[in-house]
């Protein structure tokens, strides 16, 4: 769109953007009325449940469902035989590309079960008890196979093979043998060997992260109804109703027009709800049963069969001159993909050195399939993992050079005009500002006590734009409705309403934002990649600008003056043209009330593919205290500076920073998938998989650095993902300074710290 109108040029001109109104969906969420996935019900609804493989790797010899079908109340039983056997087809999703065949096989195993918890059959029955009985009555004959979960073990030539036809992509010469290494990718620049020759100091390290789960508190849930005419309806909690529609259509071989998906409120996603698990099964069961089917995962199922992100090994070698100038970097990343290819190693590779201006580097990534749940996106997918290695190594380098860790990072910081390690040239970035903010913050100079340490780390995330649709409708009384297709995970409705209100000149309470179903709004990519406020916000803003243009046209026609003689000021058309109407004004309410005489309903829709998302940078300081007796690490203080572009709703921007930091601290200190010798997850519950609780954390100080993104009407940049990137290393670096030992394996659990203290 070219008609960018009345654009506020500076923050001072803004009346709504940058304020902190109560969110429009808030009252429903504090009173228990908001309808999340499991809260929806339909008349005649059946209970759907899944039978899952108890084996980490097994050939499915046979599945006999006859006894299950004979149980009174059992209305449907489905296995892979009830789904089309799809060809390999890669589709662009919201956060990453996905192979539809893999998604289908992950929803329902066909020939092999590839992880403990892999679905092998599903049932629908009139009661939960009948469904449980049916699951128990399904007879599955397995031929157990050797399994492999650790990433480096899976890379060995003699490792058990998950997929007989998987050949490593991205090698210089095509491989002759199948392998668990799905792909190798590489980024390189300059002459790495020469760079290390120039170095006065070199650090090398091998770092390990555990697989961790997104840990949203709401388990996956859906209700699906297959109509007698083949028209399907789905209600589900996901990060994208259009994603659910597309994936269900592909997995079931349907037209997208046959599926209408209504988004429920979503109880957290963090990337983990960017794919389907239940919806295609619920639809298949509904088709067979002739009734709606509701499926809700247990927490055990969420851990065993959804998420997580990769466990990984990160090898880092850095070289620098005595003044701190980086001369070379060599990084190798090995990421678990889980049962199907598609770990976030590519973004891990691309982000690894994104904060640094280094002339010579090589970053190599390996995407490795393992007998564990297929990984799903998790907040800045892949970036926290590579950053853990690189930022730990940078801390080692600072120690070796006797340099302040912030000064070392400032010395090598990317700035506007620098060509990023992953390709493009940075523009309008606020990275150095985040470093300055933590350097000059009182936190950085505060005294530390015994057994305490202070760590610093930085992080980067691309942020994305992409396809979005928004509609703005002006009501007959001059209030407005904003319609988008992006589930509101953390307050985005408020941001949408605020941007529309700003353009229209309304107060935010006069704008009602809704998240519509797939039949009520044009296509929008899912909520992910920190794209919604940027891309969908751009569509909302442009739709509101179209409304303003239309209102000016209408006022001009009433006043019989040229359109350019009308200005839109504070929610009114004002006549600036010479003549007897000069100085006249018509409010939005007056224009709305007379719309029938000026062209009919006032409404506008914009569909766009937003380009120019501004990247996010963050710099964090963490203070810890290590208990020398127990090895327990307490987070004492945490300060996070981030370039947020312009904060549309600052309270929810701070909230994103707080939440990302808390998840990063959990990743650093507590969280990990633990498997037994048979490859079964041993800690599939919140008691044993320990996410941070309120008493684990201090207040988290969020510093918003506002370096506006000129490619967004209000300067917004994505803010949700980068805050999880620095904490893993910030915590580990603080522990290093507290105990004098470099901890290289996450999580930094008390037994590991104790062992390190004993080894001092």
């Amino acid at each position: 769109m070219s008609d960018v109108l009345d654009r506020p040029e500076t923050a001072a001109d803004l009346k709504v953007v940058g304020t902190r109104p109560v969110r429009p969906d808030g009252a429903d969420k504090v009173t228990g009325r908001a309808t999340f996935g499991a809260d929806f019900a339909m008349p005649g609804m059946l209970v759907g449940k899944i039978k899952r493989s108890p084996h980490a790797h097994a050939r499915i010899v046979s599945i006999d469902t006859r006894k299950a079908r004979a149980i009174p109340g059992v209305k449907a039983v489905v296995t892979a035989a009830d789904f089309p056997d799809l060809a390999s087809e890669v589709m662009e999703g919201g956060e990453s590309a996905s192979n539809m065949r893999d998604i289908a096989l992950n929803c329902m195993a066909r020939d092999k079960a590839l992880y403990d918890g892999h679905a092998v059959a599903a049932v629908a029955a009139t009661s939960s008890a009948a469904a449980d009985a049916a699951l128990a009555a399904i007879e599955v004959v397995y031929e157990r196979l050797p399994h492999v979960i650790e990433v480096e073990a899976a890379m060995q030539a003699d490792a058990p093979l998950l997929h007989a036809h998987l050949f490593t992509a991205g090698l210089d010469t095509p491989p002759a043998k199948a392998s668990n290494i799905a792909a190798r990718n590489r980024l390189a620049r300059g002459d790495v060997d020469a760079g290390f020759m120039e170095a006065d100091a070199i650090v090398e390290g091998r770092y390990v992260t555990a697989a961790v789960h997104q840990g949203y508190i709401e388990p996956h849930a859906t209700v699906a109804a297959w109509g007698a005419d083949g028209q399907c309806q789905v209600w589900s909690s996901s990060q994208g109703q259009f994603m659910v529609r597309t994936y269900c259509a592909k997995v079931l071989g349907l037209d997208s027009s046959a599926i209408r998906v209504t988004p429920a409120e979503i109880g957290g996603g963090f990337g983990g709800k960017t794919t389907v698990y239940l919806e295609p099964l619920a639809l298949a069961l509904s088709r067979q049963a002739g009734a709606p089917v509701k499926m809700v995962m247990t927490r055990d199922e969420v851990f065993r069969a959804t998420g997580p992100t990769s466990g990984a090994v990160i090898e880092v070698k850095l070289g620098a001159k005595a003044d701190g100038t980086l001369t070379a970097a060599n990084i190798v990343l090995k990421y678990q993909a889980g049962a199907f290819p598609g770990s976030p190693v590519v973004p891990g590779t691309m982000t690894a050195l994104a904060c640094y201006d280094v002339a010579n580097f090589e970053v190599t990534g390996y995407d490795v399939v393992t007998n564990s749940p297929k990984v799903a996106a998790y907040r800045a997918p892949g970036a926290p993992i590579s950053a853990f290695g690189v930022e730990s190594a940078m801390d080692e380098l600072a120690i070796k050079l006797g340099m302040d860790p912030i000064a070392l990072r400032e010395k090598n910081a990317v700035r506007d005009g620098v060509k990023a390690a992953y390709g493009p040239t940075f523009r309008d970035i606020g990275y150095v500002e985040t470093l300055e903010a933590i350097r000059d913050h009182p936190h950085y100079a505060a005294p530390l006590g015994p057994n305490q340490g202070r760590g610093v780390a930085v992080g980067f995330w691309f942020n994305v734009g992409g396809e979005s649709t928004a509609a703005v409708h002006v009501n007959e009384d001059g209030t407005a409705v904003v319609v988008t297709g992006n589930p509101d995970v953390g307050g985005s409705r408020a941001a949408m309403a605020m941007m529309a209100a700003e353009v229209l000149g309304l107060t935010v309470d006069k704008v009602r934002p809704i998240v519509a179903d797939t039949a009520a709004i044009g296509f929008s990519m899912l909520t992910g990649g920190s794209r919604t406020t940027f891309a969908t916000g751009m569509a909302v803003t442009q739709a509101a600008q179209k409304i303003v243009a239309d209102l000016k046209r209408r006022a001009a026609s009433v006043w019989e003056v040229p359109i350019d003689g009308v200005e839109w000021l504070d929610g009114s058309a004002v006549c600036l043209a010479p003549g007897k109407t000069r100085g006249a004004a018509m409010t939005l309410a007056e224009l709305a009330a007379t719309s029938a005489k000026t062209g009919g309903p006032i409404s506008a829709s914009v569909s766009l593919n937003a380009q120019g998302a501004g990247p996010g940078f963050a710099a964090h300081i963490c203070d810890v205290e290590v208990d020398p007796e127990t090895g327990h690490v307490t987070i004492l203080r945490y300060t996070a500076a981030q370039d947020v572009g312009r904060a549309i709703h600052p309270a929810y921007v701070e909230g994103q920073i707080h939440g990302g930091v808390a998840q990063g601290i959990g990743w650093a200190l507590n969280e990990e998938y633990v498997f037994d010798a048979d490859g079964r997850m041993e800690n599939a519950g919140f008691l044993d998989y320990r996410v941070p609780v309120a008493s684990d954390l201090p207040m988290i100080e969020a510093i918003m650095i506002e370096v506006a993104n000129p490619r967004h009407p209000f300067g917004a940049k994505g803010v949700g993902e980068v805050p999880i990137v620095p904490p893993l290393a910030a915590v580990a670096n603080a522990v290093r300074r507290a105990i004098g030992v470099r901890m290289t394996e996450l999580p930094l659990s008390p037994p590991k710290i104790r062992a390190a203290l004993d080894g001092r």
Binding site: G26, T31, I217, T298, G685
Partner: protein, 162 residues
Amino acid sequence: MSRNHVSATVNGDPVEFLSHPGATLLDALRDDLGLTGSKEGCGSGDCGACSVILDGRLVCSCLVLAAEAQGRRIETIEGMADGATLHPLQQKFLEHAALQCGFCTPGLLVAAKALLEVNPDPSESETRYWLAGNLCRCTGYDKVIRAVMDAAADMRQARVPA
């Protein structure tokens, strides 16, 4: 399977329902009484999303059998506001942006109300330990703790009982 007839008081109103022997109070609230504000995040008492007050005591309703509710008094999130007037905790959660996805929010609010009933002037540390049984994955607890302490301060000022 025979079902138990249960009579209880929920948010001040008499209720009756039939419960399966294995059904939890959370199942009864959500499935039989249509009170879906209490959430199931884990079903094992680890996340607190199903927090309710049972005869004045904060419990995870997923760990209480439905049949145990016989003759008891239960307060849920649906009973927290006074008609259209939000409880000060609810109002402060909105003002402080103390929720993001909102799924854990009902449980946090019920737990916070139980805290202020026994301790109208909690320190930050007391608030954090009291709410340690309520998992929130979105907020990092920062704004939640601020909202609870701010609500407590307002309620002390206005002498509003929790």
